[in-house]
Amino acid sequence: MTHPTPFGLHRRSLLKTSAALGAASLLPGLPGLAAAQGGAKKFAGVTLNVSTFSATYPKLLQQWLPEFEALTGAKVNFDAPSFPVYNQRVDLELSTRGSAYDVVNVTFIYSSRWINSGWLTPLDDYIRNPNLTSADWDLNDFLPGARAPETGKDGKLYGIPWTAEALLTASSRFDLLEKAGLAFPDTTDDLVKVLRAVHKKERVAGFVADNHYGWTFVPYLHAFGGDVFRKAPDDLFPTLDTPEAIAAGEYYANLLREFGPDGAITYQPDQVTQALKLGRVNFTDAGQLHLAQLGDPATSKTLKTVRFGQVPKGPAGRFPGTAVHGLGIPAGSKNKEAAWAFIQWALSKQTTRKAVAAGYGSPARRSDIDSAEFRQKQVINGSDLAKLSLDAIELASKTGHMKYRTVSVYPQIDQQLNKAIELIASGQLSAKQAFQQAQANSIAELKRAGQKL
């Protein structure tokens, strides 16, 4: 039973009205959505099915859904399984052009496949339409480097980024370097010198990396002057048997072989994070969201000794990896306008700012990254993770070296790179043999995928 308020309204109605008014005041720029506009909720009766993988930002959105529902009248089913589960499901769903989802996460590694297959809806018309998008929503506030992987060959935008993450280098026991009189390594040569000096000091192994080498090794491949393809995305002939690629493979596998802990080639991302948090391993290259966990006072034993930097530069320069995920609308969605309203709300300045205030650590809006609130939270033991990450993303945007990652056939090459590094690090093949094998296998895989080389 609900009790009437002094004004004759029921408590629940009052709460709903307050939420709508509150949301409307929070989001003044969502045209056609506010309850104040004629009192009608534009998407009343619409049920939106949203699916992303489970991560901090989607979890925050799930908490704040009543705000969107009160504002628009739409009901939202928000599904957020784990990353591998999400990718399997949505890849299958999109490939059948089904209408089960109205908003999906445009996963970085699948963006090219999903966009170029026509499985997603171009968002440009929605963004340009003043009746659907407010002027202050400000698309240009999203980092250009984060928008690039969400853009198709046709130049149209298919996803709005909610996370822009960079691959950075971390030292969990920087105190060991300081004792040895060494600085944070800036080059690939520096890194080896440092690792030789600190490996096994105080029983701390020198280096480990997530065994997804198609992600962690590629900055080194680029740094040595090599590349994955001849010129992605136009010329996808693999270039894994070049002298530069072989030298990079030899160098990187040696980091794992000579300075890695026992079983270094089996480490998953979370194991790498835990090893660094416990101070069992000193150096790694990992995504910003994983590295930020070294600053957690509750679980990190290396909070006071950690230091971060860019991935090392090699003879050819510095090429940090970046990862971007965005929200998009499947081609089969039957509620596209409501879906766009959801994306607009989920990635409005108001919502992203609220997320940053709640501790979200990887925003894609420049205004968030530049905000004092975000910067303050991102400084861990003197290292400004936000600045490092922003620099890395901007560098990647300028050089365009991340284009290899969003071509539809990269997953096949990715597997070959993983295998090649494992074969070298475990001593089964020389770098030359492993990379020649990777090259031959890659060509075969690409031909099998129907790629014209």
Partner: protein
């Protein structure tokens, strides 16, 4: 006792006494007998083998009771906590667990309901194409699950069966039916047909003969088959991954969902992994006396 035996006994006693006298001075010498490793070696080997087999389970269970901060710690000593299990109560895991129970029970029940009479018919009745039918049923077990995924996915989209417990139970029925039919055929073959023929003479119909004679005699086989079906349904990950989203998610998929993007939720994974083992263990223990008999049935031909 006769005198001879008494004499013999006396002589023996005398001899024993002499031997005893002779050994009296060697009280401190070790007793003769088989070495300890012969006595206890076999037991020790069994214990070690059991520990080896159980080690992954034991490791999982101890992780489930570890505080999150100690999961990757060096020490094997820790203060046990229920925080992993408590965190499962706050999320949707129990719903997924319930879905798994429901789907597995439904699928097992329906499989037996349809499969047992089918197996009986294929065993007892001669008709054209009987062997081929049995072979075609087995195809559902021969082909990899991925082969059926797309047809099921598209059909379920059309029928609205996606993300439903009933939908998933129907999918599991397809591979469980093959198990039921092929296993139960073996068990029915082991029952002499003359028993059912005798029942017919006594006035039973075909259905009554099946229900009152053949089925009770194959009860151990039925139990073994039910366990198999339940385990296969309980353990399925692939179909549940593709055909469920939020409402009908089963426990194996829910566990994988603890592999979060920013890091894995180890305590939840360990606690849920521990919980997931129990229904199958309990079910198997309940029917274990039938299980061994069932699996042995038909092993020796008379």
């Amino acid at each position: 006792m006769n005198s001879a035996s008494r004499t013999l006994g006396a002589a023996d006693l005398a001899g024993a006494h002499e031997e005893g006298a002779g050994l009296a001075g060697l009280d401190s010498a070790p007793r003769q007998g088989p070495p300890w490793w012969r006595v206890h070696g076999r037991s020790l080997t069994v214990v070690l083998l059991v520990l080896l087999v159980l080690s992954p389970f034991l490791w999982l269970v101890q992780l489930a009771f570890k505080p999150a901060a100690d999961i990757f710690g060096d020490s094997l000593l820790f203060v046990p906590t229920l925080e992993g299990f408590a965190s499962l109560l706050q999320g949707n895991f129990l719903k997924s667990f319930g879905n798994s129970l429901l789907v597995s029970t439904l699928s097992t029940g329906f499989s037996l309901l349809i499969g047992v009479p089918a197996a009986y018919a294929l065993t007892r009745w001669e008709f054209k194409g009987r062997d081929r039918i049995a072979l075609w049923i087995l195809v559902t077990r021969m082909a990899p699950p991925i082969a059926f995924t797309i047809p099921f996915f598209l059909a379920y989209q059309y029928l609205g069966l996606q993300d439903t417990v009933i939908g998933l139970a129907i999918v599991y029925l397809t591979f469980n039916l093959a198990i039921v039919i092929w296993l139960m055929q073996t068990f029915f073959e082991a029952v002499p047909a003359s028993l059912e023929e005798a029942a017919w003479i006594d006035g039973c119909g075909v259905w009554q003969a099946f229900w009152r004679v053949a089925l009770p005699l194959t009860a151990p086989g039925l139990a073994a088959t039910a366990v198999m079906c339940f385990i296969f349904s309980w353990n399925d990950f692939f179909y549940a991954l593709i055909l469920t989203r939020t409402n009908a998610i089963t426990a194996p998929v829910a566990i994988v969902n603890f592999l979060q993007y920013e890091g894995w939720e180890w305590t939840k994974i360990a606690a849920s992994g521990t919980l997931v083992m129990f229904p199958v263990i309990v079910f198997t223990v309940l029917v274990r006396k039938y299980l061994v008999r069932g699996l042995m049935a038909g092993g020796v031909k008379d």
